[in-house]
């Protein structure tokens, strides 16, 4: 986490043009401290790094929707899912999309969640996950005339992302997840670029795209930045991680009791 913060700071300083920082889901829960804090440590860390949006993944929903709503309140960035809705009236539970305005340009970010946990959600939270392609078709149609660049933040998986790009015209970029793939170069389906990079926070994806005045892509480049120790630890993030680790110390394995001969035995 501390290296990621360093890399992001460097990219913001060295990078040209507009920089967006996005997460395609399954971010909040997994490791001991994040599980015990039900994602609290991740939200605070992502706030500090300046994330612009997070698409909810199926693992993010494991702690339940009440926890998600609490973490959403704490986050300085929106939680997105266009197809996560309440049972019965199909109302979105978090924001379906967000429009970001940067330097005179507008970016629509639409979130999609993999519908594998639908049955669990319906039982525990009275929520469900709609067909992401149908939902995306509806929202892309709504957003396309409002924004310069339309990005789908997808937790569907790479093959599903390709199918989405083929089925729904008008998506410029799909930032994907769930398949945990390291991609040397983006997939192209029609005019849609598809990327995702790795897992467990060991890589930072970087996609650079240049659009002309008519919002047509002129060039693009993608890279998976391995967060090796060459980046060094960001001190602010190190302190944040230590604070949370102290709150929820990792249990140490108890020493295996050994049988010692009792006196007199």
């Amino acid at each position: 986490m501390a290296r990621r913060a360093t890399a992001i700071k460097q990219e913001r300083v060295q990078g040209e043009g507009i920089v967006l920082l996005l997460d395609a889901g399954n971010a909040l829960l997994g490791q001991w401290v994040s599980l015990r804090s039900t994602g609290g440590v991740m939200v605070e860390a992502m706030n500090a790094m300046g994330y612009d949006a997070l698409a909810l993944g199926e693992y993010d929903l494991a702690a339940g929707l009440e926890v998600i709503k609490q973490r959403e309140k704490e986050a300085s960035f929106p939680f997105l899912s266009a197809n996560l809705v309440t049972v019965g009236d199909d109302q979105p539970i978090v924001r379906p999309y967000v429009i970001l305005e940067r330097d005179g340009a507008s970016f629509g970010i639409l979130g999609l969640t993999e519908p594998g946990t639908r049955e669990v959600l319906e039982k525990l939270d009275r929520a469900t996950l709609l067909d992401p392609v149908e939902v995306a078709r509806q929202y892309v149609s709504e957003l396309r005339g409002k924004v310069d660049v339309l990005i789908v933040l997808s937790n569907l998986g790479l093959e599903e992302d390709k199918a989405l790009a083929a089925a729904v015209a008008g998506i410029d970029i799909i930032i994907g997840g769930n398949s945990r793939r390291l991609m040397k170069e983006p997939e192209r389906v029609g005019n849609t670029l598809i990327v995702q990079q790795g897992y467990n926070g060991e890589w930072l994806g970087r996609l650079q795209v240049t659009y002309d005045a008519d919002r047509q892509p002129v060039s693009f480049a993608a890279e998976a930045v391995a967060l090796t120790d060459s980046f060094g630890d960001d001190q602010e993030m190190s302190a944040l991680v230590k604070k949370w680790a102290a709150l929820y110390p990792t249990p140490t394995r108890r020493p295996t009791p050994t049988l010692t001969p009792q006196p007199g035995s």
């Binding site: 043009g17 920089v19 997460d23 990005i151 945990r180 897992y199 650079q208 795209v209």
Partner: protein
Amino acid sequence: MPIHGALGGPPEVTVAVAVTQWPGIGFPKRTSRFGHWGEWQYSLQANARSVVRLATTCQETAMLGFRCSFGRIMGRCTYTSGLIGLLLGGLVLSGCAPTPGSTLPPATIIAPGPTLQPRPTEAYPATALAAPTAAHAETPRPEPTVPPRHGIELTVLHTNDVMGEIDPCG
């Protein structure tokens, strides 16, 4: 044969319209709607007044229009509206005339009433509608300024499936 004045009420204007059925014009007949002669008369009167009001309103508008730069155009409205009024009056009145075979008695011819007196002109401030000046007319409208669109250099930094990992190398 002309009818002078309106039936019954105080005469306001001379409506020179012949009360004869105009064959081939598809106005509905009112004979079945008004079964009483008095009501029929009232209806005829009301229709005639409506036509007169229309013509008078046009005339007033035309008088106001003469004071503005569109006076000539509006002036023509006086003649046009008069002709239209007469035509409409004829059509309405003919539409209200009893059909042959109706039980209603034929319309009676009313004695000539007082003719329309010209309405006193009212003074309107001359500055109410100022004619556009030549300089005003020649001034081009400023075009709305649309900022030119530029290209976009976009860098998306992204992560996925971090799985709550806070120290992946630890």
